[in-house]
Amino acid sequence: MTLVDRIVTKAHAPFEEWTAGKSLEQLLAEASRLEAFRKDATNLYERVRALVFLSTLHRFSIGPAAAEAALIPYRAIEHVRSRRFEQAIAELLAAGIASPAVSSALAIAYRGLAFQTLADQVRQSVRRFPGNQWMFRTGHLADYPLRLRSELSTPNPFPVLHETTPVRMDLSHSAWSDIFFLAMDYPEGARVINISVDLAVRGTGMATRPPVEAFLRVIDEPVLRLVSVDLGAAVDVSSLEEVFDFARDYLGLLKAAVIASGLLPAGLEGSGQKLADVLARLIGRDGCGIELVSQVNDIPKGSRFAVSTNLLACLISLCMRATGQIRTMTGPLEEDDRRQVAARAILGEWLGGSGGGWQDSGGVWPGIKLIAAEESGAGDPEFGVSRGRLLPRHRLLDEVPAAARRRLEESLVLVHGGMSQDVGPILEMCTERYLLRSGKEWQGRQEAIRLLDELQAALREGDVQRLAALTQANYDGPIQAIIPWAGNAYTEALIAKCQSQFGAGFWGFWMLGGMSGGGMGFVFDPAVRPAALDAMPTILAETKRAMESSFPFAVEPVVYDFTINENGTIAELRQGREAVLSAPYYLLRAPGDLRQEARLLTAERRSELTRFAQRYGDQTEALFERMIPKEAEAAGGAGPQLTELLAANGFDPAAHEQLRADYRAGRVGLAQNRLPANTMIEDVRPEHVAVVSLAEAPAGVAALRAGRLAMVTMAGGVGSRWTKGAGVVKALHPFHRIQGRYWSFLDIQREKARRAEVPHVVTTSYLTYAPIAATGARVSAGKSIGLRMVPTVADLRYLWEVLPQQQLDAQKQKVRESGRASLLQWVRSVGEASDYTDNIASQCIHPVGHWYELPNLLRNGTLAGLLTERPELDYLFLHNIDTLGATPAAELLGQHIASGAGMTVEVIGRQYDDHGGGLALVNGKPRLVEGLCLPDERVEFGLRYYNTGSYWITIDALLRVFGLTRQQLRDEAKVTEAVRRTAQRMPSYVTIKEVKKRWGRGQEDVFPVAQFERLWGDMTAIEEFGCRYVEVSRQRGQQLKDVSQLDAWVRDGSAAAVVDLVTGLRP
């Protein structure tokens, strides 16, 4: 059976089984068949499945088997960047050549097209959902069809419509079956049990209440006033353009709700209409506006309760009630209206550039419900396109008795573990594996479906102990079989502690949402639960403390009190003296009013302040507190801690000021990183790159036995791409489970060194020194530090507008561009090239590039120490912490020794994802060039070899470059001078990195910052060093920079190879 047959017959057979044992010719022939099929296929899911098959074939089968050396045509890269996937595929196939590089690009293009097709289909279904369509047609004031309910537009005072909504926790999502793509293709497998809950953070003395609420009222100013109480943000929007500008401020979610609710329908974007006119038509009064207020009650981000989706749904429901789109203005919703709100919430998430699964708006419904996908039928917009409908059907599980509900409340301990992670990559991996019907994962999916039935039965019977055993089995089994990264070492540690502390009284773990680490459930015997509730804060805090340098924690862990909410979303109308908002709202807004003279306030504001004083008299003290400026807050930012850190790490203020002056004057900058225009850059020729041969292996083995090699692992960085700027020690991140235990990058590197019996040094920076030293590894301390600066507008524009960028999906791109405009505004307001100090100290400073990591060995005496211990030491194997396949291999060491080179650089054949320079002939001489100093990207993709960051170094040759001898290594002054002198021969690059700033309850902002770095690859330009190059396998040379690479790393066999290395199955 061909792959095309499998698609047509909807066979559930693992993709991998088909490819096993196929020749390159057979694979290519099948790829051609699939390509022809997907072009003609009318069924969306057949097309998408063919695309995913093609992507996987090229990535894991054709690419590795192809022998041709053809490079990727640059036009194809440009097409992919601009999301013109069809053109990219055509360009790549036109050459008719199968090479690893071309296949890597085809894999990306096919995958991109598959996900784009799916996203387009969901978007189209949301737009075509009955009740949503009109919003895209309303493009003129004359067409604007909504009117505010008359009850709301009567002044003195204007009434307040108030909506509260619970959040949802899922008992099981049947292995992420609520992802739209999955549910629309496999409706019979898409089921979720989801419970609406009220929460309170334990220890605050508050009773449980719906975690999200929103208020709407008319105001006597012709603006749209958006207020987020929990984010402390408020804005008076006076133009439609601003409404559609999502990332301009923290109010993107409220804007998405205003649009998705139809209050300001999507069709008005770019219509040139005046917001005040639309508001006047809506309210039926000139000079009036709407205030929309959101409030999340103390729930940190990353809670896995779908807080933002339910807040969006709450806001949408409120706006729809106010405009009569929902029949009932107050009370709970009717089923039709709940469905409409859920469909609008999906639309809102798309507008805001985010999105989860269809179960997320579960808080709109009351109590415990089974949500199941439905097959599409005639009359549905999805009919003939997908097997399932966009929206599932919610059935309230009334058969679950009250006693069972109570027992659940008495057994479950809900917590927020403190981690806030992006679940997006997991959802994509899940979709891909589903489409491939990969063996283990498909079995896992079936198992998850079976477990849901059992969970339902346990719920019905009120058997919470059984229920807990099932949620634990779900987590241990199908969830981690499909996506191993849904679990993590932190969660495992918490489970282990609960087991050891409470024994049989701990009934099981309950993963909430898409992954663990944030919101989680631990189920206990009701007799034990009170003790568990008391113990849990300590268990969480201690475990977090032990792991905080290796995991991206966003908040302090908390334990919640919770109750099941049997109302779903519900609204009330506050009129007359009761027409007030919440106390936290006034604590945010009233100080501003009170600072003004009373005569400057509108009559409504004055009367409202009176009502506030009457209603919330007990808040006077808190209000007073708010109005007094706080000295500590006024100082802001990193403060004295930063000064100390800079002083302790040898920061050079004079050099920093010089750099700032150069940067401000435009003498250095991203554009100035480039090599002079008259530089000749060409691809190397075959004679410049050696191939790995076993001929010199015996010499390598002898050298290893003689103790002539040490392994040096560079671990000074914080993996900005790995955690998106969260500032954790990447080396210590336990990212992969091997034989039941989580291994960190460092664990793997240390184990390889131990097995090879070579001394191992880990180079660190101020950020990574202490946590890595605490593991017992031999560390080399960082000696250099830089202070980050606010980038210049010119550099940001260069980065975003001149340098090539991967375009995002249209709406996400829009949100990104809006965010970038705000960042430019931020740069202008804080000052270009000013010191970046408005963050915790460790996020304000940076290691000054990995060039320094090896010289630091010289400066801090580590190399001298090694040489004293092992005078026979002649060579260093230097590599990055994330080059997991790198080993002190005898054949490579032997080749290096035989070549007599000062340094041998390991390179790999370039594939699509390999950006950032490579091996080139620069003015006729081979050397490594960094991507940022190439005149344009076209040149980079003309270079067939990519740098792996692994180097074999002859110590004496290195010392010669520095003008030192082994004996002089003990002379600190001489070494310092030598390093300084050599550093001056190295170019210093401006790079722009992203840093996270955390605030509030787990909120994060990402800022671009400028830093100056010197990079080790430039050592290859020093002629007297004598560098040579050797091509190694991809498995050996690839680096793991991004979490999204993990899936492919496992699937292409690299992970298994690493497991073999550290478990001794491979030498």
Binding site: P130, G131, N132, Q133, W134, R137, T138, H140, A142, D143, Y144, P145, L146, R147, G262, M320, T323, G324, Q325, D336, Q340
Partner: protein, 274 residues
């Protein structure tokens, strides 16, 4: 058999509308009341006009000399549209009746406007049930009209299944789907209906049972459930005189339809150019 007709003109904002004059191409200045009588023409022999309490004299003056049998029915309390219709219960008895809203002005696409009513009467005679005239209306105007939804029985004929008063487009998309209309257009009431006596019974029974007056759309929704109820698209236009610039629009449409079209266009151009 000739029918009776009921015109509602009792709403607080409507009391002067029937007295409003409009200029015609022959330079007559008939009132809105006269236009409505012209619309009814030969189809009815007796007309009941529901007027505000205490307004009898001006209405008597308005219709004096028309030669039509007119009964003025005072609505003693302003309790809404459905209540106003219900005031004519005795007047219509147990017979079907034509109903016109008093604040609309109508134009036929071709021929006399009485052809519009005649078509409704013909359909009623053929189908033996209530028939409402409807006009496909773009969704931006939904806040001004009642609207119906249901399956199409012919190119201009629909079976009414759902009736909503001033629906939002969200409700309309969900509940008022009708085949053959342009996207974003719904069947909104034209302002002329031919109701069976069943409607009066529904209104009466509801008021007796609950003591409250239902909305007319609610009553029509019940009517659609209890008996066959059709809607038809008539070849004409309607203008809501009560809405902002509704009168101006009606006057312009009337003028542009006659021999002075060029003159009016020139006039408008001059006004625009200033």
């Amino acid at each position: 058999m000739k029918l009776k007709a009921v015109i509602t003109a009792a709403a607080p904002g409507q009391r002067h509308i029937l007295h409003q004059t409009l200029a015609t191409p022959d330079n007559r200045r008939p009132t809105m009341g006269e236009f409505l009588l012209e619309l009814l023409a030969e189809a009815v022999d007796e007309i009941g006009i529901v007027i505000p309490s205490g307004d009898r004299a001006p209405f008597e003056a308005l219709f004096a000399g028309t030669g039509r049998r007119i009964t003025l029915i005072e609505q003693l309390e302003a309790k809404g549209y459905a209540h106003a219709i219900h005031q004519a219960r005795e007047f219509v008895g147990s017979q079907p009746f034509l109903h016109l809203v008093g604040d609309h002005f109508y134009l036929a696409d071709q021929g006399p406007i009485s052809a519009l009513t005649a078509e409704l009467v013909r359909l009623h005679a053929a189908e033996g049930c209530s028939v409402s005239a409807v006009l496909p209306t773009r969704e931006g105007l939904l806040p001004y009209f009642g609207a119906v939804g249901g399956p199409a029985l012919g190119s201009k004929l629909y079976q009414v299944e759902t009736v909503l008063e001033k629906p939002t487009p969200t409700q309309a998309e969900r509940e008022l789907v009708a085949a053959g209309l342009r996207q974003g257009h719904y069947l909104c009431f034209f302002g002329i209906h031919l109701f069976s006596a069943g409607l009066m019974d529904i209104l009466h029974n509801h008021m007796e049972a609950s003591g409250t007056v239902p909305s007319l759309s609610y009553a029509l929704q019940l009517l659609a459930r209890q008996e066959r109820y059709l809607a038809t698209v008539l070849p004409g236009r309607r203008f809501d005189i009560g809405s902002k610039y509704g009168l101006l629009q009606a006057q312009l449409a009337l003028g542009l339809q006659g021999k002075d079209r060029e003159e009016i266009l020139t006039m408008m151009l001059e006004l625009t150019a200033r």
